[in-house]
């Protein structure tokens, strides 16, 4: 199988369908499927959160996610079978999900570690941004992941 046929990426406004993505990565030679689902929490540092709004530079976001997926296929002792990554854009209310990463592998260690690597790297390199809206009506905030501080100084705006 080519790398391309083992990777499925989507960035869109749809609600994330868990079963669809598990089916995408299913493979008779896979004994393990590990996943990470990111969900809008109801609070940030004690402040009530109502929803997040995500924006993206879509063609570049897909390219960056592809790079991460290819790095994963080439690593982890060659044990990775298939990778699915979907990031939801637009409004994501509390309790709904913004990202799902699902990875199948021969043995458990590789997909468990690959999922961890994938979410850490996506958070640091993929051009997607979120704005947090608060229940107390205070001004909404653009967020910056600590992982994405491109410059090694401390004056990042978040």
């Amino acid at each position: 199988m080519t790398d391309e046929s083992r990777i499925k990426i989507e960035v869109n406004e749809n609600i994330i369908d868990l079963n669809y993505w598990y089916k995408i990565v299913s493979d008779d030679s896979s004994g393990a499927t590990s996943s990470f689902l990111g969900t809008t929490r109801n609070e940030f540092k004690g402040k009530g959160v109502e929803r997040l709004e995500y924006e993206t530079y879509k063609p570049m976001a897909i390219k960056e996610i592809e790079k991460i997926c290819k790095t994963i296929l080439n690593g982890f002792e060659g044990d990775i079978k298939k990778i699915g990554v979907v990031h939801r854009i637009g409004n994501v209310p509390v309790g709904e999900s913004s990202i799902l990463i699902v990875i199948s592998s021969g043995h458990r260690k590789s997909s468990l570690e690959a999922v961890h690597y994938a979410i850490d790297t996506i958070k640091s390199t993929v051009p997607i941004w979120k704005k947090e809206f608060y229940t107390d009506g205070s001004e909404n905030q653009w967020k910056g992941n600590c992982e994405s501080c491109h410059f090694n100084n401390n004056n990042h705006p978040h």
Binding site: G38, Y54, E55, T56, Y57, P59, M60, A61, K63, H87, S98, I99, I119, I122, K123, S124, T125, V126, P127, I128, W129, K130, K131, W142, K143, G144, N145, S148, C149, H150, F151, N155, H156, P157, H158
Partner: protein, 86 residues
């Protein structure tokens, strides 16, 4: 002679400037990433602090912040503030 460079804007930069792209004029012999960022800071001081922590992407690839790269009008240029996906 000058280059007209279209720059895509996202997130806080887009919000502060109130548009999703801007066009910057640079002399052809000064059409580089360093000069572009300097000019952006000169014209839009209100985004200077965000620019300090942002990266440029040219043709959908990050440009290292310590590298001065030549830019052509045909390039797709974007300012990438610190990302916060996931």
């Amino acid at each position: 002679m000058s280059n007209q460079l279209k720059v895509l804007l996202f997130a806080k930069v887009k919000e502060v400037l109130g548009k999703d792209s801007i066009t910057i004029d640079l002399p052809i012999d000064k059409s580089t990433s360093f000069n572009l960022i300097q000019k952006l800071k000169d014209i839009y001081p209100q985004i200077t602090s965000i620019l300090e922590v942002s990266l440029l992407a040219i043709n959908q690839e990050y440009i290292s912040s310590d590298q001065d790269i030549a830019i052509c009008p045909s390039d797709e240029i974007a300012i990438i503030p610190p990302v916060s996906g996931g």
